[in-house]
Point group: C2
Chain length 366, copies 2
């Protein structure tokens, strides 16, 4: 990855906005700009922040526990430890470097932390400027190197799905399948799942975010598997719904309706189209089929270093899609007491349409 180029683009923006330096702690933004691959245990337990001045050298501020990893992964940055905490270090470092106007990620800084920063750094004459989505906006449009990494992540995810799909015994529980999937992901080289694998059988399929349980999979019930992995930092995300045994006529009818909606969504995608129009194209199919009330979530979301990122493909996002964006197309129908069907692919937005990244066709066109 060309980190210096990304840093230079960001620095040019900082100079335009008259910002002296930008503090980047959001884990995917940090990785996008530097390659530092550490995750954070939680937003309150950071493994480090990048201090990016409008001009000059980047510093990676971290603590003792991440020193070796930081030096190994970001050899071109100066790694500085903060044994007395980040704020204490910034209070000394910023005046030393003559940085008087510091931007921070308003959308990844806790309200309480921002308050303490404003207090402690304000005393030292440093002005704090909240900014939102500066790096996220850069990340929305992927270059071909990133798209190739996403392609590999999708491919590996499909290989894992194929392995598991081929090994059902009829005795598995939802948890067994989820475990087998996540083990296969890591065995095949993934950093891990990109989210907690969803395996929902029968009525549980009516919960879009079902947690795998201990009930045995019933052969004639539908099975929704929503799975994704992280490979070299980049995420994949795919959902398939199928019936291990004999599907009912109603299942087949609804499955075909969801697939038709997915195809309509994919057909609507190209650079320049509003995200909300893509959502509407798919939603109309389900509504026309009489199930509009059963599709309660948006059609899709961006995927990259994060498995859920902008752009959202929803009725509320009126912005145009741009070439190089990577989004999911995942309509669903959920009926409490009956179950649910969701089908999810990932596509790259291109000038004249979209490139479907998924080649798996299990139970798509039935």
């Amino acid at each position: 990855m060309d980190y210096p180029k990304r840093i230079a683009r960001l620095q040019a923006q900082l100079r335009r906005k008259k910002i002296d330096a930008f503090l980047v702690g959001q884990p995917e933004n940090r990785r996008y700009l530097s390659g530092f691959a550490s995750s954070d245990h939680s937003i309150a337990e950071s493994s480090g922040v990048l201090l990016i001045p409008a001009r000059g050298r980047v510093r990676l501020l971290t603590d003792f526990r991440y020193k070796l990893q930081a030096e190994r992964e970001v050899p071109w940055a100066e790694v500085i430890l903060y044994p007395r905490g980040l704020l204490a270090l910034l209070g000394e470092l910023l005046p030393d470097l003559g940085l008087a106007k510091l931007a921070f990620e308003s959308h990844y800084t806790l309200h309480s932390v921002a308050g303490k920063m404003q207090g402690k750094l304000g005393e030292k004459g440093i002005a704090l400027l909240p900014v939102e989505d500066l790096v996220e906006t850069m990340r929305q449009v992927k270059d071909e190197e990133e798209i190739e990494l996403i392609r590999r992540s999708v491919r590996l995810n499909e290989e894992v799905f194929a392995e598991i799909y081929g090994s059902f015994t009829g005795l598995d529980t939802e948890i067994d399948i989820a475990l087998a999937i996540e083990s296969a992901m890591r065995r095949r080289g993934a950093e891990g799942p990109s989210f907690s694998t969803i395996v929902a059988s029968g009525e549980n399929g009516a919960l879009p975010h079902a947690v795998p349980g201990r009930a045995a999979i019933k052969n004639d019930a539908s099975l929704t598997i929503d799975m994704g992995l992280i490979l070299d930092g980049y995420c994949s995300d795919m959902t398939r719904t199928f019936v291990p045994g004999q599907a009912t006529a109603r299942y087949l009818e609804l499955h075909r309706l969801v697939r038709k909606a997915q195809l309509a969504g994919m057909a609507a995608i190209r650079a320049g189209v509003r995200a909300s129009d893509v959502d509407r194209a798919a939603r109309k199919i389900i509504a026309d089929g009489g199930y509009g009330d059963c599709f309660g979530h948006s059609l899709g979301h961006g995927v990259g270093l994060a498995v859920h990122e902008d752009p959202r493909v929803s009725s509320r996002n009126k912005k145009q899609l741009r070439a190089g964006m990577v989004v999911t197309v995942e309509p669903g129908i959920y009926i409490p007491g009956w179950g649910g069907i969701r089908l999810e692919n990932m596509v790259v937005v291109r000038e004249d349409g979209c490139e479907n990244l998924n080649s798996d066709t299990t139970w798509l066109d039935i």
Copy 2:
């Protein structure tokens, strides 16, 4: 769990503070007060918030995807959906209910979200009050029902460790062992690991938060395994370091020093002692042994619904420990280029000492 009692205690505090209602979105706080067990994909993607008025009925605000789970797990609360987002719902609901002063969790609300709340709700005449750690403070002292759940979590974690420890082949990689551990956790009924399992061999042991890699475990190198699981919501956390083959004299010397520090830390614990004094008791042993610079993190942390919670057992926490707190005692020595040793147990603070929750003694007293 006696959720009504917890809610009543919190409501009494709200009335004392003249707060009309409190919005609770931090996942462990939410679970502590209601039993709603859903996790959040990220802080920006909440699966719901509790609206707790100073008097009267609790409401659980969530979206379509979590409706069934919310109704199932929190049948005594009113579940309300926010199809147009939380802020839009609050803007209608709060005036309807006559709630004019709303407290929010400053330490679990993004700066950008707090700004939008203050803008949109301010227009409706609602005053926002940031509060910190109100529920976290309640959570620090566990009742015996919680301690029993933590005990079971610790016991299951030790059973998993014993299973894995007994099955080394000498051909494993760090990743293989981590995978085997996390699979065994779920197979034995855990909700999942309470953090990403650390398996660090040889030099990697010098990274306290090492990420498991693909290198084969060397028989004569040290191996650090730091693992924990979640059972019925409650976390465990244990570290063992050992040498599968023949340990060197230096390894044995340092291992004994770390164990001596751990025992000194545990011996210092009882209700009324400052957390910083416990940290110092253990740290002194390592410093006196000549390795003070090699123990760069604090001695321990609270464990409960979260694997890292207050109280911190560190030189910076001057507060007294209280009976019913559950903390880790985990000194370590880390030497770049050589490796590391960390030993971690969990204890309950009691009036007259501490109760060690770990019965595993693998490679402790050698």
